[in-house]
Structures are given as C-alpha cells and as structure tokens.
C-alpha cells in the first residue's frame, strides 16, 4: 500500500480531474442562478446544441481541433518544467507563415503547397516560442514574463503587417486576401486552401452536410497528438525533456544539457501552437484575419491542465472544451440573458480548480479512500 497522502493512479488521472470539473461546473451553475436562470436547463441547452445535431458535432470538433493544438503546446512546455503562456501569440504569428507561404507560392499545385504552408505555420510558431526559450536558457529571463510580452508584441506587429503589407489596396476590412479557392463542381483546388468536410463530401459524394468549418485539420490534430506521445515517451529527446522537467539537477548529472532542452521544448511548443493556423487560416477562414486566434491559446492552458499534460487526456479535454464552446454559443442564442462569455468563466474556474487549487481535495480524498480500504 502506498503511503498516506498519495493517491492510487486511477484517482490521480481520473477522479481528481472529474471532481475539479464538477466543482467548476457547480460554481458556474451558481453564476447562472445569480443571473436568474435555471442551470440545469442551461446545461441541457448546451448539451443539445453541441451533441444533438450533426452541425453541433461539426463545430464541436472544429473548436476541439484548435484546442488540441494549443493544449499540446502547453503540455510539452509543462513536461520541460516551463509555463508557456505565449500560445496565443505563437499561433497568431504562425498565421503569418501560412499566409505568406500560401500567397507567395500560389502557383504551386496544392499537394505541394498545403504541406509547405503547414510547415511554415509550424516554423513561424516555433520561432515565436524559440526566442523566449532562448532568452530563458541563455540570458535567464523568466519564460512566463517573456511569453506574455511576446503575446503583446505579436499583437501589435500583426496589426502592422496585416494593415500595411497584406491588406489588398482599397479594402476596408483589416485582413489579407483569400489564400486560395475550391470549386466543388470541378474539384478545382488552388492555393493553400484546405476545403471543409462539407465541401469535400459535396464534391466527392454529392452529399450536402450542414455548414460547419470542420476540415481535415482535425485528423492532423489527432496525428500530432499521437506524435507528441511518441516524442515524449518513446524518443531520447522526449525523455530528456521530461527529465529536465522532473529534476533539472538529476538531468544535468545524467549528461543532459537543460539549456538545449529548454530551447527545443519551447520551439516544439510554439510549433504546436502554430499548427492552429492550419485549422483556422487554411481550413476555416481562408485568409489572415485580425486577432484570429481569439483566446484559443489560453484555452490550451485549461486543456493541458485538465488533460494532465498527456495527449490522450488533452484530446478528451479539448473535446470537452469544444462542447463547451459550441454549447455556449447555442446557449447564448437560445437565452440571450446568458452571454457567450459564460464559457470564459467556466474556463477560468477549471484553471483555478485544476491548476491552482488541485491540492484542495487531495487530503480528504486520500483519507476517504484509505478509510475504505482499512
């Protein structure tokens, strides 16, 4: 039997997250009560809106795609003992990579251009993560502060770039021109345009799905989740990342250079966040729009905490948050009294209970479990 205070594995992996989620939802329910609405009814509308129709599922999975990428980004940094709050900025900057490559090499056939643009997204994101990593490793500046600053720098820089460089002359909206097009009748695909599943099924089977932005990036997200698992638990470099995160001194003693690992981990983390651009810029909006990340980088923090920094957990947590986002949107349509920002409240509560107060239930939970065993 393990020592008192330690929990069995299953409790750590499943029970504590579940318990914390329930508490977060209960507190959100109190907020709904304060507004004067019925929390159970609100939850029912959310569930129905997200999983009660094909359209709901489409949006759920589309949101989840973003959250898998940003959740994995936060998780890889976590494993190296780093807190990357910069997912937002890394994803935003990555949008530039996808757009610039997509627009510059428009003449290339799509089987070449799309992988190239995906690579550019990852590289631009990786760069925006690598610089704070470098500054932490070589100059000792704290990663949390630097990544926060880089979010703001990206935000200003992108306004400038989109406004002065990418915006077509004479166009009012601050956004780039479209990065490609798809004609479902002739199957004519140009540019770095990833067609949605709706467009694809229409072109291939002639079947019309409800209109959602869900696109093949979802499969990329699942593949990348597997890749992160493989990297962290099956490769030497991944082992080194985890070793540095678990105990830097021991890692140094084992001949691992933490400085290198910090830079590598941050570059990978930024690259993962950057892949969000594949789903959003290439797959959904098909152009670079101002502030297109819309907080998905921060949702990644909640997703990584909820998913215990494990790819399987992250995919599940991302689906849960996809449900919350889609359900929350439907809820705000059905009940205008409950604003869509209710999701942000739930998100904040999840981070609070999963991240900062995760020890709260541990003592009495372990007391309860061991009492049952005695």
């Amino acid at each position: 039997m393990s020592a008192r205070g330690e929990l069995p594995g299953w409790a750590d992996v499943a029970l504590i997250p579940a318990l914390n989620l329930i508490v977060a939802l209960l507190v959100s329910g109190v907020v709904v009560l304060i507004i004067g609405e019925n929390p159970l009814e609100a939850m029912w509308i959310m569930l129905k809106g997200a999983v009660g129709s094909i359209k709901g599922w489409g949006y759920l999975l589309y949101y989840a795609t973003n959250f898998i990428f940003t959740g994995l980004a936060v998780a890889v940094a976590f494993h190296a003992g780093l807190f990357n709050i910069g997912g937002e900025g890394q994803a935003y900057f990555a949008g530039l990579g996808a757009t610039v490559v997509g627009l510059s090499f428009e003449f290339l056939p799509w089987p070449l251009l799309i992988p190239l643009a995906i690579l550019a997204s990852a590289l631009f994101g990786a760069f925006w993560g690598f610089v704070p990593g470098y500054l932490q490793a070589k100059r000792g500046s704290h990663i949390v502060i630097t990544t926060i600053m880089f979010n703001f720098i990206a935000s200003s820089l992108m306004v400038y770039i989109i406004n002065y460089w990418l915006r077509p002359v004479g166009k009012m909206a601050v956004e780039s021109r479209a990065i490609g097009s798809f004609d479902f009748q002739t199957f004519d695909l140009t540019g770095a345009y990833i067609p949605s599943f709706r467009e694809l099924t229409l072109a291939i089977f002639g079947y019309r799905l409800p209109s959602t932005p869900l696109n093949p990036s979802f499969f990329l997200a699942l593949a990348v989740a597997w890749g992160v698992w493989y990297f962290l638990w099956r490769t030497k470099l991944g082992y080194e990342v985890r070793a540095v995160g678990a105990n830097t001194d021991a890692a140094i003693y084992a001949g691992i250079r933490p400085q290198k690992i910090i830079m590598v981990a941050m570059a990978i983390s930024g690259g993962l966040a950057g892949l969000l651009a594949v789903n959003e810029v290439m797959g959904a909006q098909h152009r670079l729009v101002l502030e297109y990340v819309q907080g998905a980088g921060f949702v990644g923090i909640a997703v990584a905490l909820m998913g215990r920094s494990h790819p399987v957990g992250i995919v599940l947590a991302a689906l849960l948050f996809g449900l919350l986002y889609q359900g929350g949107t439907e809820l705000s349509f059905a009940k205008p009294e409950i604003n869509r920002d209710m999701i942000v409240v739930i998100q904040g509560l999840v981070i609070l209970f999963m991240g900062a107060l995760e020890q709260t239930f541990r003592p009495w939970l372990s007391a309860l479990l061991f009492k049952a065993e005695d």
């Binding site: 907020v31 100059r139 500046s141 926060i148 703001f152 820089l157 400038y160 009294e337 900062a356």
Partner: protein, 321 residues
Amino acid sequence: MLELFLGAETLSSTIRLSVPLILACLAGLWSERSGIVDIGLEGKMLIGAFAAASTAAFYGNAWLALLVAIVVSLAFALVHGYAAINQKGNQVVSGVAINMLAAGLAVVLGNEWFREGGRTPPLPEPARFMPIDLPGFSALYDVPVLGALARIVSGHSLLTYITIALVPLTAWALARTRFGLRLRAVGENPHAVDTAGISVARLRYQAVIIAGVLCGIAGTYIATSLSASFVRDMTAGRGFMALAALIFANWRAWPALWACLLFGYLQAMGTRLQGVKFGTFEIPVQFINMLPYVMTVVLLAGFIGKSIPPKASGIPYSKDR
C-alpha cells in the same frame, strides 16, 4: 513638433494614462516583494472597473463605486492568496485563472444587468471622479511658461493625486517601517522570518490584500475617470504593462513611478501620432504600442542593466524543508 512631443496636452494625458499603471505596478510591487507572483493584476483591475461602473450606474455615487470596486477586487485577491498561500498552488496558473474569471464574469453579469452586451450605460458626472482644479492653479493658466506647467499638474481627478501620494508612501513603508522590512524579508528568505517567530502566511496575506485594494482603485479610475462607462476588456493589457514596469523598476517604488510615466508617455504618443506625417514618413503607431514590451524583453535579457526579482517570489512556503 515640440508641442506634439512635449506639449502640455501630451504630458497631461501621459499622467492620466500612467495612473492605472502606477496603481497596478505598486500592487504588483507589494505582492511580489512578499514573495507572491501576481499575473492577475489585469483581472483584478478589470473586475474592479466593472464593479465601479455598475455601482456608479445603479447608485450614481462615485465614492460608493470606489468602495465596491475595492471590495470586489479584494475578494479576487483573496482567492489568489488562498491558492498561493494556503494551497501552495502554482501562482502563475492562479493568476491566469483570475484574469479569465474577471473577464468572463464582468461581461456575463454586465449583460444581465444592463442588457447592452456587457457594457454599462454612460455614467453621469456625479457618478464619476471628475477633474479638479488645484486651488490657485487656474490663475496661472495664461502665464506663458508657468501656465503650461500648471495645466500639466492641475486638472486631474482626485484619484490621480492619491495615486501620486501612494508612491512615496510605499517607498517609505517598505524601507522604514517594521511591517515593510518584515514584508521584504518574507519575499527574500521566508525561513528566516519564520524562525524569528513571525507568521509568513499573515505577512503574505497582508501584501495580497494591499494589492487587491490598489487594483480596486485602479479599476475605479479606469471606469470612472479615464472613461465614463465599463466596456469589455477595457483594461487592455495594462496589468501586464504594469508587470513590465515593475521589472523595469527592479521592484522599487520610485523607479516604478518613472517606468510607469515612461510607458504612459508611450501610450499617449501612440494615440497622438496616429496618422501624423513627418514629410512623407508616418511613424507606425503599432511600433510605439509594442515598445514597452520590447524594452522589457531586452531588459530582462540583460542587455541593458540587470533586473533581479525578490528571491522567494513565486515559491510557496512550507515549513518542513
């Protein structure tokens, strides 16, 4: 040209924009000097601004608005304190959570109370902290050089003058009082403080409370002085800019004032230079907007000077080590 960069109007708006930065920066100073990292300055200011604007909209009283804002911001500060001190949780994570909670709650509750998508109605003058003329200064307004000076110094809201007074007060309290010395010690070496028989948790809670109060004042100022209603995300990253200023100031009160005035000046210039052309050259305001953050990154990287945080900041204190 000189008028644009150093005119009375520019400098006056520098002061106006610096006030929330100074208050948040002092809040961060107290908190971090005691060893509690506070990423949640932004959220506390935001929820304070919302509380102030809502109270002012309902009751039309600026002072009541200030009181409610302080209480609400304090409640958020205590959540952070509980997570960081009692639960020994990750302080950065807790701060992120506070920011999200504040941003979400303000819009959700505001939408329910005022039905304007999360904003509050415009506040009438009695419900706001309006500019006041310092006695005797208005007579100077038309005097050539002194007049410009008088117009920079006078004509701010009462909260501005309180804020400026808080800087020497903080510097003095941290350097000269028993409380301040203990507080600084707890941020550098909590074990020594504990050994001396002084409660680490109590001191840290006191620091967190001071931070909460200051953020409440900052929020009130933003909603009732700087503007005249609450709009979603109206703090616009000021909490993070205050953190940057804190690093610039090397966690000291007087330098914090100068850093915040510098960043306030950059904010003022960012607005004033919009669309201004020098010959054919137009300074892109985006670069002025990002300057505080770039400067902080450069400073943190040790390329200009060195900034050293309190030794124990961010590390939860447990006796058994």
